[in-house]
Point group: C2
Chain length 155, copies 2
């Protein structure tokens, strides 16, 4: 994982919650959670992770960089597909273990399956845990096989 | 952590991504990530975690239940504050390690600091990692001390 010394370590809770210093609280794997929403529609496009280096690159460039859990490496969103995410606004939450980026999604979609959003299935409520998922907004807008050279996930 | 046998285990990637079975992929701590957005505005209210029991309770009741990392227990959102979250729609993502709930937030806010959203500070972009956070939409809408009996976080 990347050098967490890129950021100051978190102080007491009152400082973390009410202060002006960005002191991300990395988990045991050195990661924070990132939620990317479409800056125009508010739709959640994807949830992924950032290590310290991905956070620093994101802040420095204004484009989304992640840490890929499956490939165990720093990952510039769109590096294979060209589907980069230009950040309109970036926020952190009260305990600073998550960030929210509002993005302009370049290209047809954010999801490696070819869809606009990774959240293309609903979970039926008020029933049993085993109910079937329902596809929604699930149209494939691009052909993953044509976009990714090696079938990399989520790039 | 709760009984993961409440849900079937994930199958091959093609089934997880393109199938109709909800087979959540729990992390090493038995958790999935949950993003709660305001069903009306699209604003991200909070990011938290659900274990299998919280997921099952959420699905059964149509209200948000989480697993509190700080208290290490199942947590019905609003159990102390009354600020429950009624779910309008629940989705899962391509690899089923995250869920997105669109909610009607009952009461003035979702954040234990007294704000509407936990994401009340922006991170300046295109600069150094050490730039100061800027408060935005950060008005305190309720007094946490009056709402929580024991200063519990995020309830």
């Amino acid at each position: 994982m990347a050098d967490q010394a890129l950021f100051a370590p978190p102080g007491p809770a009152a400082e973390v919650e009410e202060g002006g210093a960005f002191t991300p609280k990395f988990d045991a794997d050195g990661l924070v959670t990132c939620v990317a929403t479409d800056a125009g529609t508010g739709e959640v496009l994807m949830v992924a992770h950032m290590d310290a280096q991905a956070l620093a690159q994101t802040i420095a460039t204004g484009e989304a960089w992640y840490f890929s859990l499956s490939r165990r490496k720093l990952w510039r969103k769109g590096e294979s597909s060209g589907h980069v995410q230009k950040i309109v606004e970036m926020r952190t939450d009260s305990d600073q273990d998550a960030v929210w980026i509002k993005v302009e999604q370049v290209g047809p979609g954010a999801c490696h399956t070819g869809r606009r959003s990774c959240f293309y299935r609903t979970i039926p409520l008020n029933g049993a845990a085993g109910a079937r998922l329902e596809f929604r907004d699930a149209e494939k807008l691009f052909d993953p096989a044509a976009v990714y050279d090696t079938g990399k996930r989520g790039a």
